[in-house]
Amino acid sequence: MKLFTKHLMGAVLGAAVAVTGFATSVQAEGEKYILVSHAPDSDSWWNTIKNGIALAGEQMDVDVEYRNPPTGDLADMARIIEQAAASGPNGIITTLADFDVLSGPIRNAVDQGINVIIMNSGTPEQAREVGALMFVGQPEYDAGLAAGIRAKGDGISSFVCVNHVISNTVVAERCRGFADGLGVDLGSQMIDSGQDPSEIKNRVMAYLTANPDTDAVLTLGPTSADPTILALQEMGLAGDIYFGTFDLGTEIVKGIKEGIIQWGIDQQPFLQAYLPVVILANYDRYGVLPGNNINSGPGFVTKDALSKVEEFAGEYR
């Protein structure tokens, strides 16, 4: 029984290692980079990230690995970063989802001589504080600002920002940036819509009825964009009023196609995964490093660029 168990366990573990060895790692010049995310297994948004590092690993001829806490528990994530550091890779790419929990392990990795790049979550300031080389992500204020400048060029001077996560200060930065880009005061142009679709729809209708001279609508994600589309259709404003949104989703893509939405802002997760691998590999090989943080977004998705989005949705977009 003893022997049997031992053999069975060894065989099973060995077989799986052999199988996955082919699937995930690209044998190369020996550089190894580990990406640690905060996302649970069930979060499909991160597929793009996995595909991004796999492609970068292939092109740069380096080993790449993706690690995440199965349940999304950030304390488990801290252990994974410690583990990643102990396995002695050339670099670690990680998110900074909770500064309290993760700054210690990341700082330790940096002090052990491992290059770290922060991606997706966190701020450039926090990345600098933990000793990371750079931050690759979408700075929310700047994304809003770019969108505002774009809208100003299209002749917009007033707007309503539909915020479904009013308690999230980072997301609210998008509205502030947009107002600054237009060169107007945000004032009461940001409404707390709540999370419920019918509530969102009715609040948007109420606002637009009370303020009929509003030029533009800005939504902050699929949660607020989808009901807003319905509200505009019901009011007969669809396609008439200027409509921009953050992040992409099925309904948003459809809205862009039908001309209801002028543009969607994509934070381009592919770049958040792909670029750090390329940067770390070149830094290790030739000592070259871009001099600043990299904004992976905002990438504006308009009607013209939709074919690419639809083709690679869920894969690279």
Binding site: M9, A16, P70, T71, L74, R79, Q83, V101, S167
Partner: protein, 370 residues
Amino acid sequence: MSDAAQGDERIKEISGFRKSLIRPELGGIVGAIAVFTFFILFAHDSGMFNSQGVLNWSIVSAQFMIIAVGACLLMIAGEFDLSVGSMIGFAGMMIAIFSVTLGWPVWMAILVTFVLCVAIGALNGYIVVRTGLPSFIVTLAFLFILRGFTIFLPQTVERKTIIGGIRDVAEGDWLAPIFGGKIGGPIFQWMGEAGLIAVFERGNRAGEPVVDGIPMLIIWALALVAFGHFLLTRTRFGNWIFAAGGDAQAARYVGVPVNRVKILMFMFTAFCATVFATCQVMEFGSAGADRGLLKEFEAIIAVVIGGALLTGGYGSVIGAALGALIFGVVQQGLFFAGVESSLFRVFLGVILLMAVILNTYIRRMITGER
């Protein structure tokens, strides 16, 4: 002793080999040897066995051990607790709310949280013994109730689901280092200077050892295992635990206070979960609403790998500790061996299945059933 045993016709002769085979720890010992052999073969050069690597899987194993000890004793007493994971989240959040939001001293926040959580454990146990409902259902209810409060309370008082800043308020507290501190600093300092373990290469801690002490989490795990093992095998109360889980009615007839034993075991499980939560909160300095997800199953899995029977009345704390060790080493070791992390659950399932099959085989040997 052997004279007396041989002279007593009531005691059946059992060969030493068979005796060693029916020990509940057997599966755990075999598994631990197999797992270590495997990783020494496949991951010896990956950093898994340097100082940081050893500390990494030791901490993860110690975490499992802390909750496995409670779950093990409770399972031997014939009950389950599915609220362990939610209890971890809840306890951590209560400490954060008491100390950060309400501004209590940290020692008081910790003590009040312990009292509160152990009381909830007692309530769990009381409902189970009074209603006679399966503990599976009662604690499943508390899984949702406690998780719900863990999300609701911080949202109500702080408008967010992660409360940070505990490390700052715990500064200088007398109780906090017992959960979040490290011991043996000078020894590691010396080992670092002697070049035995890795030191930081850069930054303002350059030259200091990367591993600068043994976290109290590991000390707690070992202490709880020692306590649990002593309680179970060396005391009258330990016999009561076996009796309550083996056949509760028979135990009652011979005067074992079965209800009291079960309620006390629910309280002990809650205590272990709170120790886990306190160590985690003190180390990371923040409490999150999603902490401890699925930990109840991880505790049960460690206990089952360690040879306890799901039906109760049979098991060992040492076995559960070995189960936790196997679990932790496999979980972290697969990362070191470079296996795709989503396959971790496949291994978990395979190991669990093998452990249960082995256990069933052993039980048939003991009871002689076919």
